[in-house]
Structures are given as C-alpha cells and as structure tokens.
Amino acid sequence: MLEVKNIETYYDLIYAVRGVSLSIEEGSITAILGNNGAGKSTILKTIMGLIDDQPDKGSIEFDGKRIDGKDTEAIVRMGISYVPEGREVFEELTVRENLLMGAYTRKNRKEVAGDFDRVYRYFPVLQQRQNQWAGTLSGGEQQMLAIGRAMMSRPRLLFLDEPSLGLSPILVQEIFKIITAIHAEGVTVLLVEQNARMALKISHTAMILENGRFVLKGPSAELMEDENVKEFYMGVRSQDSAKGYQRWKRKKVWR
C-alpha cells in the first residue's frame, strides 16, 4: 500500500533520517519504536509532505503512485491522514468546527454528516462537548478529537504520532482500544510510539529506529521477546545485580 524507499531527510544541516525504507501492507498495524530524536516523527512528516523540499533522496509511493514532493493536501485527498504528536487541535474552535476542518477535503455533505456520527460513536464524549472550545478539553479528550479529526477525511491509511503521550494509563488503554477498533473497520495504521509495550501488543509488525536508521524489525510478537527490546524499551532487566539494584545499563547490541 505504502512503499517508502531509501528516504533521507534533512532539517537544514541536520541529517535526521539516514536512509529508511519501509513498506506497509493494506490492513496491517505497523509500529515504529524509538527513543527521542531517533527520527520517528520526521519519517511521518516526510511522508505527509510537511517538511519543505524533503525527502532529499529516495521515493515514496502510495498505491503505486509517487507522492513525494506532492502537497500535503493532495496526499490527504489520496487517503492518508495524520494525527500529529501533541494533538495540535485548533484551541479556539469548537469541537464540531475542529471535526469539520478534518473534512476540509471532502465535498459530499451527506457523507460528512454520516462521518460525524461515526466519530461520535467512537468518542461519545466529543458529542457531549461539541460546542465547547477545543482548548478547554482535557488532554485525553484532545487526543480523541485529534484522532476524530483525522478520521473525518475518511483515510485508508492513518498515521498516529505518539497517541499515548501525556495520558494516564487508563486513557492510554482507551485510546489503543479505539485504534484497534478503527483498524477493524478496515483502516491501515502506522503508529509511532514510545510506549513499546502497548504498541507491540496491538501491532502486527514493528520496527526499531535509532539515529535515523532501522536497527531491528520483525513481527511484534517476536520483538516482544527480544532481550534488547525488553531491556531498553520495556524496562525489563535481563540481568540483575547481586546487590539488588543497579544504575548502569547494559550496552545495546543490535544483531
């Protein structure tokens, strides 16, 4: 469905993505894991055409058509939607207006009306607050709104950039449940996460990004058992100090 080949992205002089290829199959959930600054968000932004004149090298194809270099609007029209990190809702618009903005690329009013119902079905709380300013919502509600807004363009492929950021554990579970539900309705999902445990649980394939390069990829179930992933992304110690606690970390080795 999506084929990214050898992309390299610069922020001015900073070489953020150093040759990344990935392919996403229709109907899958793929997770990209990595620490801060690994380049996860940059990959999503590059695909969405949100960084001017990037990718510097490489190609991006969606349904066999080149999309690198296209406007973000055109990319969204083709069926990709993006939930940015930190929600970025329009704070001084109401919930309803925010959702309408998500349907900006759509013409058929009837269909849009139907989609409102769909979003409210996923997130009943949004319906209760539809006339409230988005800025007055809680963090969890804003996240829901951001996902709802992205759904309003009827994407076939949904990008989620750290949906669990800053949410309580219960809300994180809630959000991930909804992501699974959205996927069940036939939307392909690409998820960027730091919450490795949750991301590995719901995804089929996962990739680990470090310093702008993938160092590990595989079925999520396998990665969940990987010693390095356990220790560095899930906080499980592989070896314990005889004195009961330890400050140092084992050196990371990607085989």
């Binding site: 084929e3 090298k57 190609s59 993938f214 100090s241 004195k243 140092w248 080795v253 085989r255």
Partner: protein
C-alpha cells in the same frame, strides 16, 4: 640475569625497573603535564609530580593493607588517569599489575582473578563492581575491592569494598619510607605485570613480563622511530593489552610525553580531532574504519573536490608504490605529490585530527599492505609493528621512510629473529617474557633455549625485513594437499571497502570458501546510492544486489591469486560480530574457532 641494557644519550645506564624509571622521569619533568583527561567537556592536566605522588600514595596504602612484593593486583576499567596511577602504584609497591578487559563477562573476570590469585581488585564503577558481586564467594584470594567511580553506590556498603578516594586519603597520611624501600628492593628480573592474552583460542593465559622486559621495550621502541617529550598520544585501546600499555605507561614513563585519555570509548573520533596526536597507534580495524570514513566523505563531496581527490590520490598511490618497493621517486612525482598534498590531503588530515601525526603505528593484528599503502598515499605515515605479548609487544617495526611493501620491517635493535625449519618465527630479545603464570606446559611450548616460538610463519628477506605469512595453526591444507595461508587472502578481501572482515575456510576441503562480514557504513551508502531498499543490517546481508557487489570484490581478489587460492564461494554473515558473543577478541581479532562453530551451517552449505 638481565644485564643493564639501555643507555641514554650521554651513555648513562638507564633504570631497569619501572619505579626507578618513573622516578628519574619525574625528577626531570616535575610540574609539566604528564596526562590530560576530559571531564564534562573540559580538558584537565595532570602533572608528573601529581602522577608520581598519587601512584606512591596508592602504593603506601596497598603496602599498609598487607601487599607483599610479587602479589598480584587486578584492575578493571576504561582508560583514564586513575587506571595508570593505580597501575604505577601497584608497581611501586612491588606488586604485579593485572589488567582485565571491561567487556569481559563476570565469568571471565572470575577466571582471571582466581588464576592470578589477586589480593586486591581495583574496579572502575558500579557496573564492574557488580561483576565481582556475582562471584565473590568463589574469589577467596581477594582482600579488598577498591572502586574509583562511586556514582550510584552511595547506599552501598560492604566491608570488602573501599572507595578509591578513601584509599588515597589514608595513603597520604602515611610515611613513604615503606614505598621507598620497596622501590629500591625491586630488581629487573622481578615480575612487573601479568598480561592475560585475549587469546583467539582457549582460556586466556597470563604472560609474565618482568621490569627488565618492559623497561627495555620502553627504550627499544624509540630506536626505529623517534619519540620524545614533546609528543602527544591518544589513549583509547584497552589498557590491559600490551599495545596500549606500552604507549600509555611503559614508554610514557621513559620518554615523558603527554598521554591524552579519550572521554569515552565511543568519542575517539572527536577526541582525535581535539588532541591531534603526534604519535598515533591503533589496531587495523580502526585504521580501516577511518579509511572507510575518508572514502564516504569523498563520494559525498562536490565534483571538483572529487576530481582533485582522485588526481591527488593517483599521484600519492604511484609515489607510495615506488617508495614501498624502495625505488627512486622521480622529481616530477615528488613535486606533484606536494601540490596534491597541500591542495587536498593537508585539509583532510586536519579534519581527522591527523595533521600533527609524525608517525602512526598499526599493530595487534595484521593489516593488509594495501591499507598501509593507501595511508602512505595520502601522506599519513602509517607503519606496521609486529610482535606479541610474550615479547613485550614489539619484535619488528619499519622505519619512517623505509617502509617496505608487504613486510613488517626489521627487528628492533637488540632483538634477534630466526626462522625455524618449518618457517616459524623465533625471537630472542631482552623483551622476551619469562613464561606463562602457573602454566609450565604452555611455557615450555613457547620458550625453548631462550627463543620465543611465536606461532607465526614468515620469511626474512635479503634486506633483513620480516614478512609474515600466517599463524602456524591457521594454515589450511586443502583436500588436494596444498598449503594455503588464509591470512594473506583474508587481508586482500578486507582491503575492499565493502568487506569488514573475512574468514577463509578450506581445511581438508576440495576448494576454498569464505565467510564475509560487510562494512556497514560503506555497504549502507552503496545501498542508498543505488536505491536498494533495506530496513536493517540483516536485510542488507540477504540482498541479491549486495551479494553481487561482494561477488565482484571477490572476483577482483581472485584475479590476483593462484587458482588453488581462489575463493569459489562465499556467504555473508547475517549479523555483526560482537565480543560479547565471543566471536571477536577485545582488539577485534576474529576468533576462527568460534566463527566456524557459530556459522557451521553457512559453511556446510557452501560445500
């Protein structure tokens, strides 16, 4: 037993124990800089006086705690001033210092501690301390464990464990008479250090080096190429290895230059730029890595720069080839080289931190002659040193302007080299060790009539230059009965920018094959440039275009080899080799046996 061997420029006999040598140098150097280390981004100086006083303070405290002459004391930690201060402290107290690799697992640390019967154990930090905690019940020889970086250990207390700062504090309050007496008591034939050879085979063995051995070597190393008190070196190879120990400790206290410690093991490149050492030394893997870096930089340059580099390189290559075959370099070539040098290589060297480099050594493993020539071609005077721990590190090196292609140079003055009937290189010198600690059998195999049996096979040419062909036990005899030296072929393969390591296989087989480890950086670059999609290193090793690329490189090497030496098939190793997995030694030498075992199915598939 050992005579006084070395004299200074005025004919005065030089000290033959490390504490005496240390004392002489400190008397001359006083408050000048002995070493530098980097803390939170700033370089700090340590003077000779401070170095000497701290070492003696440590010696005081150790003697006070019951250290007897000849007792073994172990050290584990990354390179830093404390490491060498402790090392010299142990030696000043008449003890025998034993370095242990920080990368060793606790089981290996336990082996060395118990084999050496160490009485004290200096550990760098919490991570290393945890290793001791894992085997403390089984290490009964130890009296005290001393930690020098106590971060994260505030809550920890144990009667066996002591902070380094406290040790120094108590040592300061003591009378130095005991240390003076110990220092005076030492003789050149007394043991100085035990160096556990990382060993490409079996359990490590502890090579016993005497004060006479190391002080002679500290002196002899300077005979082929000048080292003096104005020099600067960068310390980053493991200090427990003889190569780094020689430059950071033994030759340092003899010649009085400045040792700069890298901030962390992975900041070598940055620190190299900052320090810009005048004398460089590294293992082949690092020189290869640097060369890969140069190549990558050049392929990314503008076309003008690329063209200039290509032209300058061609000239440099031609000149280096002539020089390394001892042929006369025509004047025009010399002029062209100098133009190229000023236009291209000078800046390049500056970027890498090689601009002040007078001489650079490669050692601890064989480097391909092509790699040496490549460095000579860009005006970096890289020369190879040959030797082994058992001979205190160095047997042969080349002289700066007399580097002969394919050889490791001539024996150090005072060092005799003989080739046995079966081709084995035998060495006799004041640097030859006295045996392996508690291993009579191995000692008898290595030392016969004062000759050190090196285990390497080689020839001395008519100019007296030594050419190494292989490790004796690595020589392959094919099913057809042909003797093949795998190292020669492997080095040719490794000279390819896309091949990081190669292991040739063929013992009792019909033909030769090879396992190949990719050069990650260059192959990734190749993949990017040629739009070969891949996610991870593992994908690259399976890619058919990459296989084709390696096939081309192998074909090129095959052209230069006799038919029986041709590599008929190869397999790319699907993972990187790690010391933690036991596949390479701490100095990045491939352990053949382990690699054969780990990739047996790949090997079988090729036959």
């Amino acid at each position: 037993m050992t005579e006084i061997l070395a004299h200074d420029a005025n004919g005065k006999a030089l000290a033959t124990t490390t504490p005496a040598l240390f004392k002489e140098t400190v008397a001359k150097k006083g408050d000048t800089v002995a070493m530098r280390h980097k803390d939170f981004g700033l370089w700090h100086d340590i003077s000779w006086r401070e170095y000497y006083d701290t070492a003696r303070t440590i010696a005081c405290a150790l003697i006070d705690m019951g250290l007897e002459k000849g007792d073994r004391v172990a050290i584990i930690g990354d390179n830093c001033p404390e490491w060498v201060m402790i090392d010299m402290g142990i030696q000043c107290a008449g003890g025998v210092a034993v370095g242990i690799y920080t990368t060793n697992a606790w089981q290996e640390v336990e082996y060395v501690i118990n084999h050496a019967e160490a009485r004290f154990f200096f550990v760098e930090n919490e991570e290393q301390l945890d290793k001791w905690l894992s085997f403390r019940e089984n290490a009964l020889s130890l009296k005290k464990v001393i930690v020098w970086d106590t971060k994260g250990l505030r809550e920890f207390s144990d009667p066996m464990v002591m902070a380094y700062d406290r040790l120094v504090q108590t040592g300061r309050a003591m009378d130095t008479a005991a240390v003076d007496a110990r220092m005076a008591e030492l003789r050149p034939e007394d043991l100085c250090v035990l160096i556990y050879t990382s060993g490409t085979t079996g359990m490590p063995k502890g090579a016993m080096l005497t004060h006479g051995n190391v002080t002679w070597m500290a002196h002899a190393i300077e005979q082929q190429n000048r080292i003096d008190n104005r020099d600067e070196v960068l310390s980053f190879l493991p200090l427990c290895h003889i190569f780094e120990r020689l430059f950071s400790v033994f030759a340092h206290i003899r010649h009085g230059y400045v040792v700069n410690f890298v901030e962390k093991p992975d900041t070598v490149m940055e620190n190299m730029q900052e320090v810009s050492p005048t004398v460089g030394y590294a293992v082949p893997r690092i020189w290869e890595k640097y060369y890969s870096g140069i190549r990558i930089r050049m392929t990314d340059a503008t076309w003008v720069k690329k063209l200039a580099f290509k032209a300058a390189l061609a000239i440099g290559h031609k000149r280096a080839t002539l020089k390394m075959n001892f042929e006369k370099v025509p004047l025009y070539l010399e002029v062209l080289f100098n133009i190229g040098y000023f236009a291209v290589f000078r800046k390049l060297k500056k970027r890498l931190g090689f601009d002040r480099l007078r001489v650079a050594y490669s050692g601890a493993a064989p480097i391909s002659p092509e790699m040496l020539r490549a460095y000579q071609a860009i005006g970096v005077r890289l020369i190879e040193g040959y030797g082994q721990t058992e001979g205190t590190g160095v047997t042969c090196t080349s002289q700066l302007e007399r580097v002969k292609f394919g050889t490791v140079g001539r024996p150090l003055p005072g060092c005799q080299v003989r080739i046995a009937e079966d081709g084995e290189i035998l060495v006799k010198s004041p640097g030859v060790f006295v045996g392996y600690f508690k291993d009579e059998k191995a000692t008898q195999e290595a030392l016969k009539d004062g000759w050190l049996y090196s285990g390497d096979v080689g020839v001395l040419d008519s100019d007296g230059f030594l050419k190494i062909t292989d490790r004796k036990k690595d020589i392959i005899i094919t099913a057809g009965g042909k003797n093949i030296t795998p190292q020669y072929i492997e080095n040719k393969l490794k000279a390819s920018p896309y091949i990081n390591d190669a292991v040739v296989i063929g013992d009792r087989r019909k033909y030769l094959t090879s396992l190949i480890m990719l050069d990650e950086d260059n192959v990734m670059k190749f993949a990017q440039d040629n739009k070969i999609p891949f996610s991870t290193y593992g994908d690259l090793t399976q890619n058919s275009q990459i296989k084709q690329l390696i096939q081309q490189e192998v074909d090129e090497v095959n052209k230069t080899l006799a038919r029986v030496e041709n590599i008929r098939k190869f397999s790319i190793i699907p993972k990187k080799l790690y010391q933690e997995d036991g596949e390479v030694t701490p100095t990045m030498k491939v352990k053949r046996k382990k690699v054969y075992e780990a990739f047996a199915n790949l090997i079988e598939a090729m036959y």
